[in-house]
């Protein structure tokens, strides 16, 4: 992408290619919204990705999956947006790496579970259900903003923790603590709101 994408006009792309790209806008917007809570920022990232895609159409030649290609471009735009956000609004919910006191209610003083976690029954069958995905999204929204951001960069964008640390200016240890915190909160939330309902 980069410099090349700015040199040619998006209008140079053939109409049918433009249309195929536009058809994927709703998917891309959803993808971006999952990572960027700010709707305007998600719109901007998608718009930037679409423009870059149209201008760089030649790079698509020979690839079989337009959506995968566009999603790859969008991931870069999302990371750019996350980096901007981190710079403009230093997070208030980062906590300190050592602070795991929020787990104190989950474990007794010897570090054993207060409530032994039960197995979830046939979780895979939930994946195809709209209501389950809505419940998962609600659990994600309930996480503190930066915790959710780190978790989604790891699990949704598939970035390595070293990249996440670099973009957000935090240490690896801090990153791991936040990821642990997110996973623990999400398992509890889904346990209460879905699997034990």
């Amino acid at each position: 992408m980069g410099a090349r994408s700015r040199t040619s006009s998006p209008l140079a792309a053939p109409a049918d290619f433009r249309r195929q790209v536009e058809d994927l806008r709703p998917y891309l917007l959803r993808f971006a919204s999952l990572q960027l809570r700010d709707a305007a920022a998600a719109e901007d990232a998608v718009q930037e990705a679409l423009l870059a895609a149209l201008a760089g159409e030649a790079n698509f030649a020979g690839r079989s999956n337009l959506r995968t290609w566009l999603t790859g471009i969008l991931k870069h735009k999302i990371v750019d947006a996350v980096r901007r956000q981190a710079r403009e609004r230093p997070a208030s919910d980062m906590g300190t790496p050592e602070d795991e006191s929020e787990f104190d209610t989950l474990f007794d003083t010897r570090g054993h579970w207060q409530d032994m976690p039960d197995a979830w029954e046939q979780p895979e069958s939930a994946l195809g259900q709209k209501q389950f995905l809505a419940a998962l999204e609600a659990c994600l929204r309930a996480l503190p903003q930066r915790t959710a951001q780190v978790f989604m960069m790891r699990e949704h964008l598939g970035l390595e923790t070293s990249e996440i640390c670099k973009e957000l200016g935090i240490t690896s240890t801090h990153c791991w603590v936040m990821l642990h915190r997110a996973r623990m909160a999400l398992r509890l939330c889904l346990d209460m709101n879905w699997f034990k309902k």
């Binding site: 998917y27 959803r30 993808f31 999952l34 079989s64 999956n65 959506r67 995968t68 787990f103 989950l106 474990f107 010897r110 570090g111 054993h112 579970w113 032994m116 976690p117 039960d118 197995a119 979830w120 979780p123 895979e124 939930a126 994946l127 195809g128 389950f132 995905l133 998962l136 999204e137 978790f151 989604m152 790891r154 699990e155 949704h156 923790t161 690896s172 990153c175 791991w176 990821l179 642990h180 996973r183 623990m184 999400l186 398992r187 889904l190 346990d191």
Partner: protein, 65 residues
């Protein structure tokens, strides 16, 4: 040295993000062998990963030719 569940859950999470050291892997395996709660949590952490990936509809992605 036996891990506590608290420590085991931390290693389960970190194991998804970095390669655990040999000693950590051994300690975790020993703990999981006797702890149903942490074994369940391990499966749930793994499930979370696939669940998040299915949020944007990657499941119905057309297969590359």
């Amino acid at each position: 040295m036996m891990l506590s569940c608290r420590e085991a859950s931390r290693l389960l999470s970190q194991g998804a993000d970095r390669k655990l050291a040999f000693g950590e892997r051994v300690a975790l395996r020993l703990h999981l062998a006797i702890c149903d709660g942490c074994t369940n949590v391990k499966a749930q952490f793994e499930f979370l990963r696939s669940a998040v990936q299915s949020l944007s509809g990657d499941g119905d992605e057309e297969k590359p030719a």
